[in-house]
């Protein structure tokens, strides 16, 4: 463990001169106007989630029977739902739920996928073959079906939704990471590490993993949007997050359809929030991919 310092030191020396973060950002947005737009949406969402209590004066769960299904106006910018709850405030707090589920499930899922994918590529041979078959099985299950089965086992609620979304993410991440790791396995420095007699886990964690970070980050951002969508779908079906927790998919359930004609704001705004959020993450992810991996650029 102690000797790793030298390794990382050389890596740093290789980089000519670190441009300032601001300059990088500027270059990124000039190159990817769409990606910058996506990044902006993502940042707005994160800000909304963090500063929710300061952004709205309404409690997202407080019923107000004096203002049931109130249309958007000066008091309630986006109107209220059938319980008289402020929609804007529910959407702002809903960003917390969406980000929590989205980030935790895709991060954990992609990270486990990363370990599995790299390990499988590193060992190769029979292990890799078997691993591939197992991944085939998981990939053959439609995502929502696997998630539903997991919810049926663990029950509903935020935690279980996270588990339900994490599991299908693992094989998807593992497959992509494995493909890149296969190429790295043949690199001279991995051979060298092996010749030095480093342990398998050391080679996997210290030498191979840092070099598949690009595909890892790409799949990670792509999965966040996907995870937010699945959470919304599960909640819409009544199998995800439960009332009165503010969650966008849940807000489209029941009342939203019942009152769609006379109070369309109940059906429109939460859906818009989901779409914008996923849109943002996807745009950002696409741009990140183009930027990190020019070979994959389309």
């Amino acid at each position: 463990m102690a000797s790793t310092e030298t390794a990382s030191a050389t890596v740093i020396e290789d980089i000519p001169r670190r441009p300032t973060i601001l300059a990088t950002l500027g270059a990124f947005s000039r190159e990817n106007p769409l990606g910058a737009c996506g990044g902006f949406i993502v940042i707005v969402m994160i800000v909304m989630a963090f500063f929710a209590p300061w952004l709205t004066s309404y409690d997202p769960t407080a019923n107000d029977f004096g203002a049931m299904l109130a249309p958007p106006d000066g008091d309630h910018f986006l109107g209220t739902d059938q319980f008289g709850r402020d929609l804007l405030s529910r959407i702002i707090y809903g960003a917390r739920t969406a980000l929590l589920v989205g980030f935790v499930s895709s991060f954990v899922g992609c990270f486990l996928g990363l370990i599995l994918g790299v390990t499988s590529a590193y060992f190769g041979g029979r292990f890799d073959l078997l691993f591939q078959r197992v991944m085939d099985v998981f990939m053959a299950f439609p995502l929502i079906i696997l998630a539903l089965a997991v919810v049926a086992i663990f029950g509903t609620g935020v935690q279980n939704v996270i588990i339900a979304i994490t599991i299908p993410v693992i094989p998807r991440a593992a497959r992509i990471v494995r493909a890149s790791a296969l190429a790295i396995r043949e690199m001279p420095y991995v051979d060298a590490a092996r010749a030095n007699g480093f342990s398998h886990s050391r080679i996997i964690f210290r030498h191979m993993m840092p070099n598949v970070m690009a595909p890892f980050l790409i799949i990670l951002t792509a999965q966040v949007g996907q995870a937010i969508l699945i959470e919304a779908s599960l909640s819409y079906l009544g199998l995800g997050v439960q009332e009165p927790i503010p969650a966008w998919g849940l807000m489209l359930r029941g009342g939203a359809q019942e009152y769609a004609e006379s109070a369309p704001w109940v059906a429109i705004f939460p859906g818009l929030a989901i779409t914008l959020a996923v849109f943002g993450f996807n745009l950002f992810g696409d741009a990140l991919r183009d930027w990190l991996d020019p070979k994959m650029k389309t």
């Binding site: 769409l34 078959r133 197992v134 085939d136 099985v137 998981f138 053959a140 299950f141 439609p142 995502l143 929502i144 079906i145 539903l148 089965a149 997991v150 049926a152 086992i153 949007g225 969508l229 919304a232 779908s233 819409y236 079906l237 998919g249 489209l252 939203a256 359809q257 769609a260 004609e261 369309p264 059906a267 429109i268 859906g271 989901i274 779409t275 914008l276 959020a277 996923v278 849109f279 996807n282 745009l283 696409d286 389309t298």
Partner: protein, 324 residues
């Protein structure tokens, strides 16, 4: 070629077997016994003898391994057994729903093709112009928009426009009638879910068309064709598009397979009595047999689509036969 087909066919077996093991175990991991659920669904207590007999009838008193072997034997002999919830043959339960899901999947695929090929082509040919940006935004939005929300919006739109134009609000039919019995009635019901899912689907396919075409456009033979002074449209149509279609077909195939079982949420919005709704109900009812068969059906469709796509690839590109 024949050897490759056989080899590829054999490769499907471990996937299907693995899927069978996985879904079998997943179902058994769900807490709660189907007999208990079926008998106590309305509340109250259940007599132990009734419970015991029910379990024996469903074979749930057997050891897990024996239950699994029965399940596999049924799969191999195409004897799918009975739904544990309604006690009716699964073939009968699936029949009508399969028809419906298949039709929606086909209609959504057609929608996707009609949108994706022209949009993807134009976006690739006019790369980095405003039209390309528009198409890319359109497709990313398609992937971002939950199809159930689009479904809600479509229903809302139908209500509002029909009321504004005809004075009475019109709603799509709520009961499925097969296409050949009453095509108009059938289409007026299924066109909406097909559009709602077709949008997302076409977005995926448009992206694929665009990127595949861009790749092909950089290839030598296209450059040669262009250099020969061939008319641009001809180059695109005859040379580039045809070769770019393969990955697009792959995406279409895979998405189609997923649509067969993955329409869970959209079916809920439009109240369609399809496989997705049946899947949710059977999972919630702990109907092991029904869920297992449904999942195997979806996985089999998926595996088969993959197989066809791979064979297609191998047929078009002989190198694959030897390297894989």
């Amino acid at each position: 070629m024949f050897r490759y087909v056989v080899k590829r066919l054999l490769l499907m077996i471990p996937t299907l077997f693995g899927a069978a093991v996985l879904i079998f175990l997943l179902m058994r991991a769900i807490p709660g016994d189907i007999c208990y659920l079926r008998l106590a669904a309305g509340g109250g207590t259940v007599a132990p003898d009734v419970l015991r007999i029910c379990r024996a009838e469903l074979g749930l008193d057997q050891p897990l391994i024996a239950q699994f072997l029965t399940f596999i034997k049924g799969l191999v002999t195409f004897d799918f057994g009975k739904s544990m919830w309604t006690n009716r043959p699964i073939i009968e339960e699936i029949g009508l729903r399969f028809q419906l899901s298949l039709q929606v999947a086909i209609m959504a695929t057609l929608t996707a093709i009609l949108i994706a090929i022209p949009l993807g082509t134009i976006s690739a040919v006019r790369q980095n112009t405003w039209i390309d940006y528009f198409v890319r935004t359109f497709t990313i939005a398609g992937i971002a928009m939950p199809s159930f929300w689009l479904g809600i919006l479509i229903i809302l739109g139908i209500l509002i426009t029909s009321k504004a134009w005809f004075g009475v609000a019109w709603m799509p039919p709520i009961r499925y009638v097969p296409l050949w019995e009453d095509p108009w009635y059938n289409l007026s019901m299924l066109i909406w879910p097909a559009l709602a899912t077709g949008y997302r689907y076409s977005a995926v396919a448009t992206r694929m068309t665009r990127s595949a075409l861009l790749e092909v456009l950089r290839e030598d033979y296209v450059r040669t064709a262009r250099a020969k002074g061939l008319y641009e449209k001809l180059v695109i149509n005859r040379h580039a598009l045809r070769n770019a279609l393969l990955p697009v077909v792959t995406v279409l195939g895979i998405e189609f397979a997923f649509l067969m079982g993955g329409l869970v949420v959209t079916e809920q919005v439009f109240n369609l009595n399809g496989l997705g709704k049946l899947f949710v109900e059977s999972v919630l009812n702990h109907d092991y047999q029904m869920t297992q068969i449904l999942v195997m059906l979806v996985v089999a469709i998926f595996a088969f689509t993959n197989f066809v796509v791979d064979i297609l690839y191998a047929w078009l590109d002989p190198r694959i036969r030897y390297t894989r």
